[in-house]
Amino acid sequence: MNIVVAIKHIPSIADDLPVKGNNIDFDSVDFVLNEFDEQSIEQAVLVKEAIGGTVTVVGVDLIGELDSVLHLALAKGADKAVKITADEPGADSHMQAKWLAEAIRGMSADIIFAGVQASNDLDGQIGPMIAAYLDIPYIGGVSSVEVTGNTATVNKEFAGGFGAKYAVSLPMVVGVQAASKPPRYAPISKVRQVAQTVTIEKIAPTGDANSGLTFRKIAPPAMTGHAEMIGGSSKEVAAKIVELLKSKGLA
């Protein structure tokens, strides 16, 4: 089984996002792996462990810092890593999906995993786009995957615990919401060992695509309905909250 995971390196939202002109100042943000890609890597490795095969992780190297992410994926059980060297920190989903689809086309993938969404998917997610480029089915919001023969059985989540089970003839693209087990931990020593022994394959981006979106402006939300902030030390904060709750008959 040829299992491929398409990942996305995205601006970290842990810190403030600097703005330059009408867009994020991509040169001065930290990039991190999309949180749902951690789930998608785990789900891919779980499928490999269940039925055998190889897991190839592929991503667009936007800022020349994708190696650490790929090493982590390898340490968690991926077998191969491929980076599309683009050096275009602001590449949108359409562009990345096109490059990824072209790279994956040559991999004879049986099943392709992607994170269900990323926080910077302004023009949509790469998962359904890759499926559209490769003309194969897509299902997102998936929280478990089992493969038997040429069929993947996936559970898709709706809301409030409701969901549906689908059987899909492979190949397909799966948009992973959560792996069927919480992602495993890779010890630092293992990541280091991988970094020293595995070579990351480099390929050039092929194809061109464009979201067709023009940014007029990007900014933090206007603080219209801001919370009333409780100041002071943690002890003071706690005291004020308890007082507030008591005054409302809630404690």
């Binding site: 842990a14 023009t214 940014f215 402006k217 939300p221 801001h226």
Partner: protein
């Protein structure tokens, strides 16, 4: 080309989710500005489609569309949109719309805006406001060309404006659905047996800031002292620290307690969908820019462990 606005309605358990009505209301406004019609599109014949305040409602009847099937729905919507060429196609940024909007964008070569919060028309140009980066940034976007696809976050517009009784016109599928590779197998029901967080008056809700499974105990203790129940954001459940039944939000449960005390939850739009109408929202977060502070009634930039420990001493 037409100036119509198509709303791809969002099925939910034999009915329609609120965002379907929200979008129809907005579509009426936009269609009249464009000089076209607001058309509600109902894929599948399962639900009563005569419930929208649209100018027209199209219901597509085919046995392959009885249950949501992204492949079948995608094909039908693509064929319909190609045939009718609306100015704008609206989806909900929901479990179903998220499978279709970006896919359709690539199939048609038309731009797509996700995480839509608002749409307006300025000088005959569509401007979309989108909430990206986990709610930390708001972008104003103009999609180029003669057709745009916009996927809207639930809770963006009033529901009432889209409710009505327009009689639906039933049509057959504009495309053959033979040979689908995706088959619906069965519906999955919520797991029963745990407490029902939607029925609790007070929730102490924990997010990724809680750090580890061991720390959940602290939240349990605090909840017990307050006569509350512990709920959480999605990552806490995905990490296996709490059961799925405790998850609040878009893919979890919608709650409206008297008290929603949040410890280490950032306030991503998917979380807000489940709790923003709680009566009293108090958020503790170390990040003073956390989006939750735009929604909470009270907030403190503080360490959740220190605050929780201190509250325990006072209760």
């Amino acid at each position: 080309m037409s100036n119509d606005v198509f709303v791809i309605t969002d099925p939910l358990d034999g009915e329609f989710s609120d965002v379907s009505f929200e979008m129809v209301g907005k579509a009426r406004e936009l269609a009249s500005a464009f000089g076209g019609q607001a058309v509600a599109v109902v894929v599948g014949a399962g639900a009563d489609a005569n419930v929208f305040a649209s100018d027209a409602t199209l219901q597509i009847d085919d046995p392959n569309l009885e249950q949501f099937n992204p492949e079948a729905y995608g094909k039908v919507i693509e064929a319909l949109v190609k045939e009718k060429s609306p100015r704008l196609v609206m989806f909900g940024w929901t479990a179903t719309g998220m499978d279709l909007a970006a896919w359709l964008s690539v199939r048609l070569g038309k731009p797509c805006v996700a995480y839509g919060r608002d749409l307006c028309i300025e000088n005959n140009e569509l401007v979309v406001t989108s909430q990206v980066y986990g709610g930390k940034m708001i972008a104003e976007i103009t999609p180029e060309g003669d057709m745009a696809i916009v996927a809207c976050l639930a809770g963006s517009f009033p529901v009432e404006a889209g409710q009505g009784s327009t009689t639906a016109t039933t049509i057959v599928s504009p495309i053959s659905l033979d040979g689908l590779k995706t088959k619906f197998v069965e519906a999955i029901q919520p797991a029963a047996g745990d407490v029902d967080i939607t029925a609790q008056a007070k929730l102490v809700s924990i997010g990724r800031g809680i750090g580890s499974k061991d720390n959940v105990e602290l939240a349990e203790e605090l909840a017990q002292k307050l006569g509350a129940t512990v709920s959480s954001s999605r990552p806490v459940v995905d990490a296996g620290w709490l059961p799925r039944t405790r998850q609040v939000g878009k893919s979890g449960l919608k709650v409206k307690p008297k008290l929603y005390l949040m410890l280490g939850i950032s306030g991503a739009p998917e979380h807000l969908e489940g709790m923003k109408s709680a009566e009293l929202i108090i958020a503790i977060n170390t990040d003073k820019k956390a989006p939750i502070f735009n929604v909470a009634h009270y907030g403190a930039t503080a360490d959740l462990f220190e605050v929780a420990e201190a509250m325990l001493e006072l209760l």
